[in-house]
């Protein structure tokens, strides 16, 4: 066997080791632990890059842990959807770099090493979740990232943060239970935990009711994780109150666990061909449409910048769910492309908002008026993010609107295409408020003009991300070329 499949182990183990050792390495030395975390993510990124090149050249492959073959052993699997490891590593690196100054500033010194440890654990969970080939490990990794997520929300130790984390914990625990329960059902029916194997056996067995139960449990569980309306209520507080680099990871990546989970579920059940998924699809499309509108609607009434961004995540998950539910090739492409692009865009927005909060100490639109003159680069980055997320071409956010709308017409459900495009207009409303406040309205606090531009460790991630927001729109073919074969394979059982 060639050496390179071992990289698949490295991408999971490297951040894990980094996380475990971070408190030891970084005791009382916040700068050192930041570098340590960056180094751990650096190794992970190299491994991930190698894997992505492989999958682009040779297609999906898997790795049997310890040489035990599935279904007995643990299988790590890397397919085109697994290429999202790339974006996880990128955002992880940038968020850690951003934290270099931010964590020290926001957190008590003794907590900083734990903060990095939790960040790395969270990233481990994310990567593991994407590359695992069996359902039980899917659950394990999901729990790793959820538990570290709860802790990260509460990390500042403020009372309000604890409340938000608790709300997040309750919802998250319920959804995890649902997922675990469904996995149990699938195991009892098929006697296997390996996803490919489950799909095959489910098809042979033809048991409808347990499969239906499992499908319902998994879908609901993942919907909570994805924060789709009406099970979104945990999200705004958690994402707005967490430290900004954490918000970027939570909003950009952790929420996507729900989406990727749904994708995995679809992969299993489409391949099994036992159930008619039309009902679920219809539900997803409707919930997606409602999420777009409701997310925008709630965001309009927010004053807190990060709160707006948090609600905007709900709208964007709505886009993605709609794309999934349309079950047409363009719709799925749009959904998966947006998983990538939204991660980039939302990280841009949260990090630049974080830089503003770091420098000014204010977080409402009213207080932040006039910040555009004081922090020009950060504000431009935030504006690029805003333009991108409302889907103005040629930025990254436009692609999803284009593909999902096309998917709606392709699936002969034009109503949803129209709903998507007009729903997106609502999103304009509050981003325009934001841009107005930062640039055009007179400053509420005159001293805001004295504020200096964000430090380099924050500026670099923000600039990289903003550039990617622009470039990924024009170079939209790159993620597309990855996703298209996977989507075609996934929809093959549908005959389309």
């Amino acid at each position: 066997m060639a050496y390179w499949p071992h990289w698949l182990v490295v991408v999971v183990v490297a951040p894990l080791v980094g996380a475990v050792l971070a408190p030891v390495v970084g005791r009382g030395r916040p700068k050192v632990v930041a570098l340590w975390a960056l180094a751990a993510m650096g190794v992970t990124s190299l491994a991930a890059l190698n894997l992505i090149v492989r999958v682009a050249e040779d297609g999906p492959f898997s790795y049997d842990m310890g040489g035990w073959e599935p279904p007995v052993g643990i299988e790590l699997r890397f397919d085109e959807f697994g290429a999202s490891v790339g974006i996880i590593c990128l955002l992880g690196m940038l968020a850690l770099l951003f934290s270099y100054r931010y964590a020290e500033h926001t957190l008590p010194t003794e907590r900083v090493p734990y903060y990095y440890s939790l960040m790395l654990l969270n990233l481990t969970g994310l990567i593991g979740f994407v590359v695992t080939g069996d359902l039980f490990n899917l659950f394990v990794f999901m729990e790793i990232l959820s538990l570290s997520g709860y802790a990260l929300v509460a990390v500042s130790g403020e009372r309000i943060a604890e409340m938000a984390a608790f709300k997040y914990l309750v919802m998250g625990a319920v959804s995890s239970l649902l997922v675990l329960f469904s996995i149990g059902v699938l195991y009892s029916v098929t006697g296997s935990l390996n996803m490919a194997d489950v799909a095959a056996r489910l098809g042979d067995w033809g048991a409808r009711s347990p499969a239906m139960l499992a499908l319902a449990g998994l879908s609901l569980g993942f919907m909570v994780k994805a924060a789709i309306f009406p099970v979104h209520i945990w999200l705004p507080d958690a994402h707005a109150i967490a430290p900004s680099p954490v918000s970027a990871i939570l909003s950009g990546l952790v929420v996507k666990v729900g989406v990727l989970g749904m994708l995995r579920v679809y992969q299993i059940f489409y391949a099994a061909e036992t159930l008619d998924l039309t009902g679920l699809n219809t539900l997803l499309v409707w919930l997606g449409a409602i999420s777009i509108v409701m997310g925008a609607f709630f965001a309009i009434f927010q004053e807190d910048v990060k709160m707006m961004l948090a609600y905007s995540t709900i709208s964007n998950v709505g886009y993605i769910m709609m794309g999934l539910g349309l079950a047409s090739s363009y719709g799925l492409i749009g959904a998966t492309v947006h998983v990538f692009n939204h991660a980039l865009i939302k990280a841009t927005l949260f990090l630049s908002a974080g830089a503003m909060i770091y420098r000014t100490g204010y977080r409402t639109l009213h207080d932040l008026r006039g910040v555009g003159k004081a922090m020009p680069i950060t504000t431009i980055a935030l504006s690029i993010g805003a333009i991108s997320i409302v889907g103005i071409p040629p930025t990254a956010g436009f692609l999803c609107k284009w593909y999902i709308a096309l998917g709606a017409f392709q699936a002969d459900q034009p109503f949803f295409g129209v709903a998507l495009v007009f729903g997106a207009l609502f999103i304009f409303v509050y981003y325009i408020r934001m841009v107005n406040a930062f640039y055009f309205q007179p400053a509420t606090h005159p001293e805001i003009a004295e504020v200096s531009e964000a430090p380099l460790s924050m500026l670099v991630p923000v600039i990289i991300l903003a550039t990617l927001c622009l470039v990924m729109g024009i170079l939209g073919r790159i993620p597309l070329s990855f996703i298209e074969p996977a989507v075609t394979r996934m929809l093959a059982p549908l005959g389309g």
Binding site: I387, I392, P393, P394, F398, L399, K401, W402, A405, L406, F409, Q410, P414, G417, V418, V421, F422, A424, L425, F428, I432, N436, Y439, F440, Q441, P442, I474, L475, G476, R477, L480
Partner: protein
């Protein structure tokens, strides 16, 4: 004959780079002016360098990137696009000079000139868009880039106008996007290189909805009634912006989009068998007359100009909707005729406001004594709108009337005559006031606007005369419009 050439992309790129340079170095007045003027000249040179080729029938094409096969950013300088590009890049030079003079004591000048350049960049992008997606892309970007210009004053009134502007145009943009998606879904192509890409095999209901979506989407910026509400309120912007909005960029982008939809997406052949274009023609006729009526009662000069714009733009829409070659000629040449006449008027309004502080029609008594050259330019533009022979507007009216007769709809000629009378009714009183109604005690001292304001005004007025008297205006050839018409009608 198609030739791969970078120039169609270069033209929008120049303004784009100029915007970047203005933002980078524009704190200094010298660099701001230098970049703006240099880019304006460079762009006109690039566009003009394509003119001889375009007149020989060469089409310059440049493909940048594809999102999916066949859908992506592409540029293509065909006759129709060239015509629009020539008009807008010529006017950019004059507007820039004027703006430099006009904005001298304003705040946030760097922002103003930067976004100004971006607007012109996107306008030429619209002109040279190779496919509907590229067109949409620039159309939407234009909306965003004009917003900071509309709210330049940063007063509550300006923000209100800005909100209204965005509401209208973004909803329009959403319609265009949906239309584009549907076209792609139906035909698998978005190319604007053919005289029509839709076919009669598609059922009429779908075609009807598609026509409504696309025309409504572009019609917002073309201010077809009842989609015109944003335009009069956007008058709070500084005058060069109004000139840009009403003569060069925004409204013409809308009108141009309507032309593209009728000529290159649907095609004349297909539309002749369908009733939609006829409905559009009625709507345009309604707009022409109604907007003129409203203009009669406006005392604020810029508001009167705004309603006149609404009325004039529908000449273009009407010309396109009549689906005859002569009417199409009228529609295309009116892009230039209206642009030069209207920009002259806005320049005059701005010059009067800057020099005397007057903004209303009733204050203009005797202004002709104070600013004789400015008011002479105004008179030329007014006569052009009325459609007096030897002035640019007459050419439009002549071909439009012929086109209406060609289509067998004689009563559109009545509409045009009514419109001419209405135009006379709201322009000539201003001329009368200016020259013959000097209030007692008016000193006869001439106190003209400063040269940066006056010279562009006079040149634009000169163009109005030229366009009306000869078919061979240098750099604004009638034959280009002819070429476009011949392509569209397959002659």
């Amino acid at each position: 004959m198609e030739v791969v050439d970078i120039r169609p992309m270069l033209a929008p790129l120049i303004s784009f780079v100029c915007a970047g340079l203005v933002f980078a170095t524009g704190r200094a007045a010298f660099w701001r002016r230098f970049w703006s003027l240099a880019a304006a000249v460079a762009k006109l040179a690039v566009v003009m360098s394509m003119l001889p080729g375009a007149l020989r029938g060469t089409v310059y094409v440049f493909k940048l990137v594809d999102f999916t096969p066949g859908v992506g950013l592409g540029f293509r300088a065909d006759a129709l696009g060239m015509f629009f590009a020539v008009v807008s890049s010529t006017l950019w030079i004059f507007t820039t000079i004027y703006a430099i003079g006009y904005m001298e004591r304003e705040h946030s000048r760097m922002r103003f000139f930067g976004f100004f350049a971006l607007c012109v960049s996107t306008t030429v992008g619209i002109a040279f868009a190779e496919n509907l997606l590229t067109l949409f892309l620039f159309y939407e970007t234009l909306t965003i880039c004009t917003y900071p210009l509309v709210i330049h004053e940063e007063t509550p009134e300006a923000f209100k106008a800005g909100r209204k502007y965005l509401t209208y145009t973004l909803i329009g943009g959403a319609f265009v996007l949906i239309g584009t998606v549907v076209v792609y879904n139906l035909t698998g192509t978005l190319s604007l290189a053919h005289p029509g890409i839709l076919t009669s095999s598609i059922d009429t209901g779908t075609l009807g909805l598609l026509f409504v979506a696309l025309i409504a989407g572009f019609g917002v910026k073309a201010a077809i009634m009842p989609l015109h509400g944003w335009l009069p309120s956007a008058m709070v912007a500084p005058t060069p912006v109004s000139a840009l909005l009403h003569a060069v960029a925004v409204v013409k982008a809308g009108a141009f989009g309507v032309l593209r939809v009728i000529y290159n997406v649907f095609g004349v052949e297909l539309l002749r068998d369908l009733p939609f274009a006829h409905v559009l023609a009625y709507l345009a006729a309604f707009t022409i007359v109604t907007a003129s009526f409203i203009a009669l009662f406006q005392d604020n000069i810029k508001r009167r100009l705004a309603y006149s714009t609404i009325s004039q733009l529908s000449y273009i829409v009407l010309g396109a909707a009549l689906l005859t070659p002569l009417a199409a000629t009228a529609a295309i040449v009116h892009i230039a005729n209206q642009a030069f006449a209207k920009i002259t008027m806005f320049f005059v309004a701005g010059a009067i406001q800057r020099t005397t502080g007057k903004t209303c029609v009733h204050e203009l008594a005797g202004i002709g004594y104070r600013m004789p050259y400015t008011m002479a330019a105004f008179t030329i533009a007014a006569l052009s709108f009325i459609g007096v022979p030897l002035f640019a507007g007459f050419v439009t009216k002549w071909y439009l009337s012929l086109g209406a007769l060609e289509a067998g709809d004689w009563w559109f000629v009545v509409v045009l005559i009514a419109s001419a009378l209405l135009n006379a009714a709201y322009w000539l009183p201003i001329v009368y006031l200016a020259y013959f109604k000097a209030p007692p005690g008016t000193t006869m001292r001439v106190a003209e606007a400063r040269p940066t304001l006056l010279v562009p005004t006079l040149i634009c007025a000169g163009y109005v005369l030229l366009l009306g008297t000869t078919a061979n205006v240098p750099g604004m050839p009638f034959s280009l419009a002819r070429a476009a018409v011949q392509f569209v009608f397959g002659m």
